[in-house]
């Protein structure tokens, strides 16, 4: 199963992973055309800065025992047994935000515009080359690695 593995020390806080993620979710866009000012522009990954530790890349871990799935009562979040990725189904979501509160990494958030759905990493499943953020990271601070359960 593939996961994004973070090497915090390497991160420079350039936010290229943010752009890549926004572009991956704006149909037909690329790095030149992605609209960073659109109200719909939302990133599914975050870079926090800590004065002691430096940059902290916050990405969905697609956890083995995902708290978000466990806390979701409407079945909108499910762990795919084949890929191991935790996927979100907007149509089933009741917007109760139990997942947002329970994710230990704080990676989930309600969407800015309507606050009726959750913004969640989909592992770029529809992208033939895999996670867009990983391709865009100039420091190789995030990498896709095969992990066993």
């Amino acid at each position: 199963m593939k996961r994004i593995i973070i090497d915090r020390e390497k991160c420079d806080g350039c936010l290229n992973c943010n752009i890549a993620c926004i572009s991956a979710h704006e149909e037909g866009s690329n790095f030149y055309t992605v609209n960073m000012q659109s109200p719909e522009a939302e990133t599914r990954n975050f870079i926090k800065f800590d004065a002691q530790k430096g940059y902290l890349p916050i990405f969905c871990r697609h956890c083995d025992e995902p708290e978000c799935v466990l806390s979701c009562m409407s079945g909108a979040l499910e762990k795919d047994p084949l890929t191991g990725h935790v996927q979100y189904d907007e149509s089933k979501c009741a917007a109760c935000y139990m997942c947002v509160m329970n994710c230990p990494y704080g990676v989930l958030k309600p969407d800015k515009q309507t606050r009726t759905k959750v913004i969640k990493c989909d592992f770029c499943e529809d992208k033939p080359d895999g996670p867009s953020c990983v391709k865009a990271c100039p420091k190789k601070a995030i990498e896709v690695k095969e992990v066993s359960l």
Binding site: Y32, V34, M36, P138
Partner: protein, 627 residues
């Protein structure tokens, strides 16, 4: 040998060069592309600002403005105007040096090879003077006087040089430039921290810089050089790595200021200097062309048959040229002198001398050109090069490629030589356009880059598409270096053109891509366009003429582009100039410009669809002219 670099080189439209480079044991730009393949999204869109210590600020969904309140539109416009100002400064530096050189040459009663250019300038500048040296000095003085004006005093030669309908439009828009050097200064001031925040004002400023860059940095540099160095004349010449002859002491030249080499290049073929070369076992000296100064020398090659062996390649061929091992010294005076040549020169013991400190290379000897000392300086350079030759030849392995390039590139095309070729009038060309034998003209100009598919890839694919549509291509800049090395400027390339253009080319014995030489010659294309418009009696935007800088590289190219837009011409770029993060920029360049100057920016990195767009524009302009 050094093997501590990526072994995967980027693609080149020039297959032989790609193979040559991929087998090299030195690191080149083509090797380094892979390590730089992940690009910063904020940089690409132009939405990063580091003008103050509160920054760098970037436009993100959570940070839609900089700390100071700067919007994406302001950031992009500031970044763009800064780049255009710097690019303009580069060309203005070139014309300033060229005018100073003409002034000193004239004052010292030096040789003026270009009588036609002198007469032409005297006519444009309205100088009535029989003595050619006095006349040339007056011309130089008028150019310098304009360059040195403050920004609040308009330059006087603009009205004399520009096509009247264009001049009138520029006046209406309030974009007539003041002193060209001061305009660069104003552009820089305007874009500093917390000054101008009005994108439209800044884009109009770019157009103003485009005008001073184009008319002075480009057009006048050519004409002043023509006076000193001789006018271009059409001929066939060899190009590519094959031009390097290992029997000679070889000097590669890089830069844009041909006149700096003029004394030296005459000196290199004088008997006593040839004797010096023979004494160390060489047949003599040869200059090997690289970058725009090589294109310029090639253009005027008729006057320099003995000393100039031919143009080897463009900016991103320079490392390969050195890697042949047969170059004994590099003389540089401007860009595009890549920092990447330095370790290669060290490894292959190649002497580097810089003649202008603006392009001082870290490991090069600095010898600023001084007109009054040109005799002694040239002798010192010759001795240093001989010393280098002796120290390295026999020690350094040669790695030649006699198969690269060709022997029949048509060169020497200029506004003057083309018109003479046509019989002293533009009528034959206009007739061919009216009849549709030539559908239109595309000026494919500017640099070579390693993006947009690889080295020269988009340029060459686009040109092939255009000629197949019966569009005649005129080329100026490093794009020419790529086009000639792959044979598109050889008469046999006519077979790649559409049936009508092919027939025209075959009957005249010319290729479908005409070689105007260096990027400076974009100024010559402007002269051709203006003379055609004048002959037909229309303004420039009405002509079935488009511009493309498919692989624009640098700030100078952006200043050139601003000139193209000021002229009111459609301008295609392969990749956007770091402006797409601003909706206002996109609107101004792709839409509003049509109403301002008649120009328009088209961005497309696909050769086929870009050619279709340009073709459609040409068709539309033909319809509007009822042809």
């Amino acid at each position: 040998m050094n093997s501590n670099f990526s072994c995967k080189t980027c693609a080149s439209a020039d297959q032989k060069l790609e193979t040559f480079i991929s087998n090299l044991s030195v690191d080149t730009s083509h090797h380094r592309m892979e390590g730089q393949s992940v690009k910063c999204g904020f940089g690409l869109q132009g939405i990063c600002c580091r003008l103050c210590s509160n920054g760098p600020c970037r436009i993100t969904p959570d940070g839609p403005k900089g700390v100071c309140g700067a919007t994406a539109d302001t950031m992009v416009a500031r970044n763009f105007l800064r780049a255009v100002s710097a690019g303009s400064g580069c060309y203005i530096h070139i014309v300033e040096n060229t005018a100073l050189m003409l002034k000193k040459t004239a004052a010292s009663k030096g040789v003026l090879k270009g009588k036609v250019a002198l007469a032409k300038l005297a006519e444009i500048f309205e100088i009535n003077e029989a003595d050619e040296h006095v006349c040339a000095e007056k011309i130089a003085d008028m150019v310098l006087a304009d360059l040195y004006k403050p920004d609040y005093i308009k330059m006087e030669l603009v009205e004399k040089m520009a096509y009247k309908p264009r001049f009138d439009r520029w006046k209406e828009l309030g974009i007539l430039p003041g002193g060209a050097k001061s305009e660069v200064f104003s552009g820089v001031v305007k874009t500093s921290t917390n000054l101008n925040s009005d994108p439209v004002d800044m884009y109009l400023n770019c157009l103003k810089l485009g005008i001073s860059t184009g008319l002075y940095g480009l057009t006048l540099t050519n004409l002043l050089n023509d006076v000193m160095l001789g006018e271009p004349s059409i001929r066939l010449a060899p190009v590519g790595l094959r031009v390097i002859d290992t029997d000679y002491i070889n000097i590669m030249i890089t830069g844009h200021q041909h006149s700096i080499f003029s004394y030296l290049q005459d000196r290199l073929i004088q008997d006593d200097v040839i004797e010096k070369a023979k004494a160390v076992g060489a047949k003599g000296f040869k200059l090997v062309g690289c970058t725009c100064v090589g294109q310029d020398l090639q253009l005027r090659g008729e006057h320099y048959k003995e000393v100039f062996n031919g143009h080897a390649g463009n900016n991103f061929t320079s490392e390969a040229i050195l890697a042949t091992g047969a170059i004994d010294a590099v003389l540089s005076e401007f860009n595009c002198t890549l920092p990447g040549i330095e370790p290669i020169c060290d490894e292959l013991k190649i002497k580097q001398i810089c003649l202008d400190d603006v392009s001082k290379k870290a490991n090069a000897e600095m010898k600023p050109f001084v007109f009054e000392e040109k005799e002694s300086q040239s002798n010192e350079i010759i001795d240093a090069v001989i010393e280098s030759y002796q120290a390295r030849r026999g020690v350094v392995t040669l790695n030649m490629d006699a198969d690269h390039g060709n022997d029949d590139t048509l060169t020497g095309v200029s506004e003057g030589s083309l018109k003479s070729f046509l019989g002293g009038t533009w009528k034959p060309l206009i007739d061919l356009i009216v009849k549709g034998e030539i559908k239109g003209i595309a000026g494919v100009v500017g640099c070579s880059s390693l993006t947009a598919g690889g080295h020269d890839v988009l340029t060459i694919n686009l040109v092939k598409e255009l000629i197949a549509k019966d569009i005649l291509v005129l080329s100026a800049g490093c794009s020419s270096g790529g086009l000639e090395n792959v044979g598109l400027m050889s008469p046999s390339a006519a077979s790649l053109a559409g049936p009508k253009l092919r027939a025209v080319c075959e009957s005249l014995g010319i290729p479908p891509v005409l070689n105007f030489g260096p990027c400076l010659a974009i100024g010559r294309l402007e002269l051709v366009a203006t003379e055609l418009a004048e002959a037909i009696g229309v303004d420039l935007p009405q002509l079935p003429l488009v511009l493309s800088a498919p692989q624009w590289l640098e700030e100078q190219a952006l200043a050139d582009g601003a000139f193209g837009l000021a002229l009111g011409l459609p301008l295609h770029l392969g990749l956007p100039p770091f402006v797409t993060g601003s909706p206002v920029a996109v609107q101004v360049f792709t839409q509003d410009m049509l109403n301002l100057t008649g120009g328009q920016l088209i961005i497309d990195d696909n050769a086929k669809s870009a050619a279709e767009t340009l073709d459609a524009i040409i068709e539309k302009k033909r319809k509007e002219l009822n042809i």
